[in-house]
Symmetry: C2
Subunit: 150 residues, 2 copies
Amino acid sequence: MKDIRQKIVALLKEGYATPQIARMAKRLHEPSTTIHYNIKRLEKDKVIIRYKGIFTYAKIDQGYCTFLLINLVQEKYADPESVAREIAKSDLVESVNVITGDYELLLKLRCKDVDEYYAFVKGAIKKHGFAKVISLTSIKELKGEFVQKS
Amino acid sequence: MKDIRQKIVALLKEGYATPQIARMAKRLHEPSTTIHYNIKRLEKDKVIIRYKGIFTYAKIDQGYCTFLLINLVQEKYADPESVAREIAKSDLVESVNVITGDYELLLKLRCKDVDEYYAFVKGAIKKHGFAKVISLTSIKELKGEFVQKS
DNA sequence: ATATGTTATTGAATATTATTCAAAAATTAA
DNA sequence: TTAATTTTTGAATAATATTCAATAACATAT
């Protein structure tokens, strides 16, 4: 049942990981109880939010990466945040930022392919009011949330 | 010694976390050995690259987030990748993408403040050949690698 | 359909690791 | 300096990952 793999990946996207206290202890030459104590503090203080898995996106149907620069229609211009919050709900959306400059929003999308990307943009323009959308397609990702690559 | 905290954060940025097999097993109603087996497969197949911590950036001196759209100088235009690889080495750089459109590179920076950001840009323009740089400053991050927020 | 090789599932045993606890040390505030 | 608070740490325990071997499921060829 390959089904389990997908479920595992889904869980690891959200969290379901935990720090390796013993390994950190060895690396830092400190007792593991000291590391444990300090990690719990960092968690309580919300410095650390969670622990999650990092993936090879092409292998989980998210190989097509694009950035969208968005101008909102006049009516929504005053409150980009509520639009952003709505957009953020989509699984295809990796990040949403309200920005300064010529555009109001910057999205990072991770889609399976151009078709999925197109469907998203088409739907989003209609659903939320986008006056203008500039798409920047990533043709090579040299660094991402997952540290370095080739 | 608050020093330990910083070291822990540094390690968790790179990895030093591990999946919670038992918790996933309960959640998915599967034996933990089944989850274990499948996770190891995902790791071997490089579907899962690593596990890392996610932070509140403002609390680890990275509260100032910007995106840079970059045009390379003529001499470097033919090989944006090698420039990108160099830039990627900086700790301030969260992501580097070679993109299509009016610009060659898109960077995401996480700095402590405007000063650090300015120092980076100033240095980068000189060091790597940037013909033009457009900065998009994030004034609100509604979604990031760390799932949802307020 | 049946045999054969491969991959996946699983329980039981073991090895590792996280967690708790209590005491001591270090730091901070008064 | 003293008192209060936070941090460090070792020992004991609890929880979890890992290994192993057996079985099941699946795919492929005959």
